[in-house]
Each structure stands twice: as structure tokens, then as C-alpha cells.
């Protein structure tokens, strides 16, 4: 027997952006239903764990709990273990249970919908990558920091980026032996030592502190990237974890589960060093190949998309505050572009106020100030995945405004 609910705002996704938006909208007087497919709220925030510039630890688990309590206290209707499988114009949100079976709620009608579905990880196909024991770097974060189960006794992290480095460290804190962090297989674009250093050098300009911890001076001048590659030490130690910028994955070894990886050394331009292949025994492999915004719901609604490599992929056209071409439909968080949690939280707050204003509850007087704050937070963020992220957002905003003023679609 299915039930239909009605509300003012449905928020799809209980991660930092969705939670922040639901809270802000509720604080402005909006009735909100927040939907999350997992059993607990917080999304990827729950697993985040790293040291900040101040020396304090950012503990996503605690922040998630705080946000979840706040949401409950504000009377937001929270539906966990609930999957949104469709959103229809007008608005009608179609749901089912993560546990299967007869649903208590099958649909929710609303005046506004916020899609805050986050991002998905890019796969890294390689021989043996489907063996049990091979997981994504995000999966490693979930297992280690959320569920407190070690992905394995001994792991290799494949891919060099802020996530692989931070989560590699998380695993070490959780007493997993992190054998090394290595480069991806040759099939992955721009994965040579030179290209990797170039990318890291670009990111280090934007978020210097993060990179200063390991030879930041080496990476600070992009012009020296290729020189640095020639002088590259075989192994740089990050919190005791060997970062091997001249070693890459060839394949994962095992019959019915991971028993090892085959690695090879490479020259700065990515050419293999002949005779350097060797097998290293591990029972876990963590693949890190970046994130891409997840917008399947927005796609099914027929929104116009733009492909922006700076924000991480294809995103629906939207204003900086999260409005789309469809009145009442909003977006926030990593669905708009891949960035850190602080930015997602801010985007959620802004969207929450924007929606409350749209619904007639409270004019959004602080909009310009908060949008400036968003830009500042982005500039100061330690977690940046693309050095041109702000330019990417500006481009999308400009295109959106053009569409809106020309009245097309």
C-alpha cells in the first residue's frame, strides 16, 4: 500500500549540500522532506578525516552527526534508506526503499526540488580490476572511516591526487599497511610523472598548504615540472607512506580475490623502464581516478547541460545560487562541480535561502554577501581538484544568464 506525501521542498541527497540546504530552508520557514538512500545522513562527509591548516582535525563523522541532529530538531521530515528513482515536472518525486519490499512512501509532491546527489568516481579499468579487494578510493574512505573496517591488511593506492593522498593516510591511521601510492596504468590520460607533477603544481598554486607538506618547494614553479621529473626521487615519504611518482600499476593479480599487484617503473614521459616489472603482495587495491558530477535525475528532466572540464564534467546550466532553467528546480553540491565539503555546505546554505525566497517565505537579502563568501571559500579551499574551478563556474553562470535573458528554452 503506497503513500503519497506533500510538502514545500524535497531535498534529494543527505550529504553536506543537501543537509545544509534543508536546514537553511527550514530555518526560513519552509516545510522540507530530505531523502537519503543510505541508513545514515552525511554522504561522503561522514568519512572525511584530515588535518586542516590550523592543525585541527576535520572530522566529517562528527560534523555529519551535528547536521543530522540540527535537521531533526528543525522538524525536517527525514527519509533514510529511501531511493529517489525519478523526479517529474511540477514536482513529483518518485521513491522506493533501499531495502526493497513494500514502500511506506512512494511519492512526494512538492513546490520545489533540490537535487544534491553529489559526484561519482571515475573508474580505472585495468587487468584484474574487478577482483574482490579492488575498491575505489571513496570506498576505502567509507570502509575505513565510516564503518571502521580495514579494506585489507596491506594495500596499494593507485592514483596521485588530494583524495588518494588523504585517504591513504586515513588507512594508515586505521592501521592498514599502505605499501605505496603509485601512478595509474598507462591507459589513463595524462598519468606520466611529468603530467602528474604539472597537475599537482597547478593545484598547489591554489591550495599551497596541502602540497607544502611534501616538497612543496619542488612543485611550486610549474616551469620546473619537467626538470623536477628528471630529478624525481624514487620514493617520497608522506606521513611514512611511500609516494612513488615513477611507478605505475600494470595489473592486479589474483584468482578470486586480490593477492598482489604488478608494478613497473616509468621514465618522466611515461615510457616503461624495461625489465622493471615486479609483483608486490597486497590484499587490497584502492583506485583513485577523480570524480564526476552525478546528474542522472536532472538529465531525465531534460535540462540543458554544459560540459566543463574545469568543474569536472557535465553539469546542468544553473545560476551560482543553484537555480536552473526550470522554476522550482535547484541544484547544490558536487552535482554542480567537484569540490570540497566546505564549498558544498556553503552552496547548500545559499540554495536553501534561494528556495525559501522563491517559495515566498523570506527574501534573500544576504545573497550577494554569501555568494562572495562562496568565492572566498573556494579560493581558500585545501581540497581543489582543478585549478580552473572558479573560471569553470563563471563560464557556466555566464551561459545560464545568457539563456535566461534571451528567453530560449
Amino acid at each position: 500500500m503506497s503513500t503519497v506525501m506533500d510538502t514545500e521542498l524535497v531535498v534529494v541527497g543527505g550529504g553536506p549540500a543537501g543537509l545544509a540546504a534543508a536546514i537553511r530552508a527550514a530555518e526560513c520557514g519552509t516545510s522540507v522532506v530530505l531523502i537519503e538512500e543510505n541508513v545514515s545522513l552525511g554522504g561522503k562527509l561522514r568519512g572525511q578525516l584530515h588535518e586542516e591548516l590550523s592543525g585541527e582535525w576535520w572530522i566529517g563523522w562528527d560534523l555529519s552527526s551535528d547536521l543530522a541532529s540540527k535537521a531533526q530538531k528543525l522538524g525536517i521530515t527525514i527519509l533514510t534508506e529511501t531511493v529517489v528513482w525519478g523526479v517529474e515536472d511540477g514536482w513529483r518525486v518518485r521513491v522506493s526503499s533501499s531495502r526493497g519490499g513494500t514502500d511506506a512512501v512512494s511519492e512526494i509532491t512538492a513546490r520545489a526540488v533540490l537535487i544534491a546527489t553529489g559526484a561519482v568516481e571515475c573508474s580505472m579499468p585495468a587487468p584484474g580490476w574487478t577482483l574482490p579487494g579492488v575498491i575505489t578510493i571513496g570506498g576505502a574512505q567509507v570502509l575505513t572511516n565510516i564503518h571502521r573496517v580495514r579494506p585489507g591488511k596491506r594495500t596499494v593506492v593507485v592514483g596521485v591526487d588530494p583524495l588518494s593522498i588523504t585517504i591513504g593516510r586515513s588507512m594508515k591511521l586505521g592501521d592498514v599497511e599502505v605499501e605505496s601510492i603509485v601512478l595509474p596504468p598507462a591507459s589513463v590520460h595524462l598519468s606520466s610523472p611529468v603530467e602528474t607533477l604539472k597537475r599537482l603544481a597547478g593545484l598547489s598554486k591554489l591550495a599551497p598548504y596541502f602540497y607544502m607538506r611534501f616538497g612543496g618547494k619542488l612543485l611550486a614553479l610549474p616551469g620546473l615540472a619537467s626538470v623536477a621529473a628528471r630529478l624525481l626521487p624514487r620514493s617520497l615519504s608522506l606521513w611514512g607512506i611511500p609516494l612513488k611518482l615513477s611507478t605505475r600499476l600494470v595489473r592486479v593479480v589474483g584468482d578470486d580475490c586480490v593477492t598482489g599487484v604488478e608494478l613497473e617503473r616509468v621514465k618522466p614521459n611515461g615510457q616503461a623502464v624495461p625489465g622493471s616489472r615486479r609483483i608486490v603482495a597486497v590484499d587490497s587495491v584502492c583506485l583513485s581516478n577523480g570524480l564526476v558530477p552525478l546528474n542522472d535525475l536532472a538529465g531525465a528532466l531534460g535540462l540543458e547541460f554544459v560540459n566543463s572540464s574545469s568543474v569536472g564534467g557535465r553539469v546542468p546550466l544553473h545560476s551560482t545560487a543553484g537555480a536552473t532553467q526550470k522554476p522550482g528546480l535547484y541544484l547544490a553540491g558536487n552535482a554542480l562541480g567537484v569540490e570540497g565539503a566546505k564549498v558544498a555546505l556553503k552552496q547548500g546554505e545559499i540554495a536553501g535561502s534561494e528556495i525559501a525566497s522563491y517559495l515566498g517565505h523570506q527574501p534573500y537579502q544576504e545573497r550577494e554577501r554569501e555568494l562572495s563568501e562562496l568565492r572566498r571559500m573556494r579560493r581558500e579551499s585545501e581540497f581543489t581538484f582543478n585549478e580552473h574551478i572558479q573560471a569553470g563556474h563563471d563560464e557556466v553562470e555566464a551561459l545560464f544568464q545568457k539563456r535566461v535573458t534571451s528567453g530560449t528554452r
Binding site: V83, W85, R94, N295, D296, A298
Partner: protein
């Protein structure tokens, strides 16, 4: 050593290029014929790799949310839930 790029439907890069060699000219055709991107995850995991494989085989990718057209439901759903989904595919 052949390995899959679409985990849900066990599709390799070789199968994708074979499909293009056999005459497929759009990403949609490749998807329907190989099943790449049509499994449980609806391309969430493999979209980027499958599109790269399609492009390497010589077929252009059209811009959209995905060249793998998004239809409801975007998550596997029990047939009973879809029974109320009036008038859509």
C-alpha cells in the same frame, strides 16, 4: 589480457570497437548492441570509460547529461513501484 570496462554487463573495450567495426555509428547503437552502460548502475561507473572507448573506435559522443540517454527510473526499482508510473517508458 582482456578486461571489462562495463562491470555490470561484462563488456570489454574490444567488444565496443568490434561493434563499431560491424557498423554502429552512434553511442546509442553501441550501448544497445553491447549492453555497455545498460546494466544496474546505468553507466554511473563506466560512462567515462565507455565514451572514451566509443570515441577511440571512431564514433562521436553527442552532448547531453550523457550520451547514454537518461530515462526513468534512474535506479533499479521493483515492477510494483513502476506500475504507478503512468504514461512513461
Amino acid at each position: 589480457m582482456s578486461y571489462v570496462i562495463c562491470r555490470c554487463e561484462d563488456v570489454t573495450e574490444q567488444e565496443i570497437s568490434a561493434c563499431v567495426d560491424a557498423g554502429a555509428t552512434t553511442a546509442q547503437e553501441v550501448k544497445f548492441q553491447t549492453r555497455a552502460g545498460m546494466g544496474f548502475c546505468q553507466g554511473r561507473v563506466c560512462r567515462v570509460s565507455v565514451e572514451e572507448a566509443i570515441e577511440s573506435a571512431g564514433v562521436a559522443i553527442e552532448l547531453g547529461a550523457s550520451s547514454l540517454t537518461v530515462r526513468l527510473p534512474v535506479r533499479p526499482t521493483a515492477l510494483a513501484d513502476l506500475a504507478d508510473h503512468r504514461g512513461e517508458d
